[in-house]
């Protein structure tokens, strides 16, 4: 059993390295894209899509599926890599990321991209939609879960807390929020812009269960997702992460929030990420 678990974790780690590499390639091809925000969430996305969620990429509208909303929509590059990998749509479609006539938009778009459950990009709104989906699943007596991933800056939006309150009121034990706690937002580090800590106490006071983990360690991500699934209250996983994780010069360097690569930067990033893979 332990050996099996170790093998699984190894597999997920390998997958995450591959997704990071492809994320950088895709961001480079797109020109200007949000690389840093996409690298901080990669491991969480890999755990959800390759371990936890009950999904069927061949049948994206399968009624009993689990659902995922990327509420911090700008971090969508790694999500697009994963959706194409899983076969929601051909990988070539990603090459038109952010280009006219493409199906893959600058921010997740449910009207254009198979596998995108809800349109996001204007921050704060995804979690309210997740509440709505979770309520609908309960009414329909479905076992499906709704996962929503938020930025730590994003949760400064007041509407997030309106949704958090609704989730508690409607006892949404099928709703799991994850906060990508990379400690940065657009203009700098969280405590310098609008000090919104402590997180745990805030969510707890709204009646949510709180799990805190290292968002880059599958040994912590997987048990947290399993535990969250059994929670009797809405549950939030606060994942400590590093913005730009995996590329030395992007890590904790907020210039990479959204940035165009020079050729050298691109080659250096690819080199680092492919070395990781060996």
């Amino acid at each position: 059993m332990n050996e099996e678990r170790a093998r699984l974790i190894k597999k997920l780690e390998e997958k995450a390295k591959e997704i990071r590499y492809k994320t950088v390639c895709l961001a480079y091809k797109a020109g200007k894209a949000h690389t840093g925000p996409s690298l901080s969430t990669t491991d969480i996305l890999v755990a959800l899509y390759y371990y936890k969620m009950n999904i069927n990429p061949k049948n994206p509208k399968w009624v009993e599926r689990d659902k995922f909303i990327l509420s911090k929509g700008h971090g969508c590059v790694s999500l697009y890599v994963i959706l194409a990998e899983l076969g929601y749509y051909p990988a070539e479609d990603n090459l038109k990321l952010r280009k006219v006539d493409g199906i893959v938009q600058g921010h997740p778009d449910m009207t254009k991209t198979p596998g995108i459950e809800f349109t996001t990009g204007s921050l704060g709104n995804g979690i309210g939609a997740a509440v709505g989906m979770a309520i609908a699943a309960k009414i329909d007596k479905l076992k499906s879960k709704v996962y929503v991933l938020l930025g730590d800056g994003e949760i400064q939006e007041g509407i997030v807390w309106e949704a958090v309150a609704s989730a508690k009121h409607y006892k949404l034990d099928n709703l799991i929020a994850i906060v990508d706690n990379n400690n940065f937002q657009s203009c700098g580090a969280l405590p310098d812009i609008c000090d919104f800590y402590p997180f745990r106490e805030k969510w707890q006071s709204f009646g949510w269960n709180v799990i805190e983990i290292d968002g880059h360690d599958f040994n912590e991500i997987l048990p947290a997702l399993d535990l969250a699934e059994r929670s009797k209250n809405p549950c939030v996983i606060i994942a400590k992460t590093i913005k730009g994780k995996g590329v030395s010069f992007m890590e904790n360097n907020n210039a990479w929030h959204q940035k165009t690569y020079t050729k050298e930067e691109y080659e250096q990033a690819c080199l680092e990420l492919s070395l990781l893979r060996r």
């Binding site: 600058g106 007041g158 937002q185 657009s186 203009c187 812009i193 919104f196």
Partner: protein, 311 residues
């Protein structure tokens, strides 16, 4: 002229100038200090820039509160957030009490381009125009942005200003003249009157040149003030020429074209072609690709103008 300038930078620079001259201005933003170039003001006067975090409705109320104490407040974020996310705050708590808040909107029109529909804003002129007490302005380039920001600060009351994102071609220089409620006649002509506003004026100017080369004579008005709008200039164009075309980076419903149509129907019904985005949602894409696809290419402006002239 082939040089380019940035409207967001123009805004940041002029705001700094105004504060340095002693104007009692506080700028409020929502994690948009750097992207709206308030960093220029913050570097020298850190207490004059308030960053409330990612919270646009709060940003607008803080600006309203500041203005209620007699200071000039500037609220600065993206157009879709100023005009939609914080709309009730703008309407009820800024416009209704006529507070001295200047709302400055980057990424207006299609300039949010690659980011997609969520970040573009082709509805703000219509929305803002429908609110009593609002002055609604759009600048066409770097130099005119500076003048308009200064004039807005001088005016007492709520003002909405639409600016862009990336660098855009320079059209004007420091001698740009601006008055709220007044059109700028850039050239006179007798076959058609073209009226444009904001950054797309660049395409309007290029279209006019082509039309002239084809032997047509065009009057070109820049309409930086969408509300109040220069009724006299519109009525005069209807009387003198009798054919008008409006060009705006906005839905054809309720913006510049809508405002011009209202003036014409009320006073002097006249043939008008409204060019803009044809009541559809757009998509992600390079700015120029979007302008081409959604009807604002120079060629389409020429084609539609020619059609109206030859009617």
């Amino acid at each position: 002229m082939n040089s380019c300038g940035n409207t967001r930078k123009a805004f940041g620079e002029e705001l700094l100038n105004l504060v340095q001259e002693g104007e009692d201005i506080i700028a409020v933003c929502a994690d948009t200090r750097d992207s709206m170039r308030l960093d220029l003001l913050a570097e020298k006067f850190s207490n004059r820039v308030i960053n409330v975090g990612i919270a646009e409705q709060n940003m607008m109320m803080v600006a309203a509160g500041i203005a209620s104490t007699g200071k000039i407040a500037f609220a600065a974020t993206y157009a879709m957030l100023n005009s939609m996310r914080a709309l009730e705050q703008v309407r009820t708590f800024v416009a209704y009490p006529k507070l001295n808040v200047k709302i400055v909107s980057g990424l207006s029109g299609l300039t949010g381009s690659i980011e997609g529909v969520t970040h573009q804003c082709i509805e703000d002129l219509a929305i803002m125009r429908s609110i009593p007490n609002m002055v609604v302005l759009a600048s066409a380039d770097y130099a005119s942005t500076k003048v308009i920001v200064r004039e807005a600060a001088e005016y007492t009351g709520p003002v909405y200003i639409r600016i862009g994102r990336d660098d855009t071609p320079d059209i004007f220089d420091g001698s740009y003249s601006f008055e709220i409620g007044k059109a700028n006649k850039l050239q006179d002509g007798k076959d058609l009157c073209m009226i444009s506003t904001g950054l797309i004026l660049d395409h309007a100017i290029k279209a006019v040149k082509i039309l002239q080369n084809r032997g047509f004579s065009i009057r070109l008005l820049e309409m930086p003030s969408i509300k109040p709008i220069d009724k006299e200039a519109i009525i005069k164009a209807a009387q003198d020429i009798g054919k008008l075309v409006t060009v705006e980076e906005h839905t054809i419903l309720g913006g510049l074209g809508g405002a011009v149509a209202e003036v014409l129907t009320d006073n002097i019904p006249t043939r008008l072609t409204r060019l803009g985005i044809n009541d559809v949602f757009t998509e992600s894409g390079e700015y120029i690709d979007l302008l081409n696809k959604y009807g604002l290419s120079v060629e389409n402006i020429v084609r539609q103008s020619e059609k109206l002239i030859l009617e």
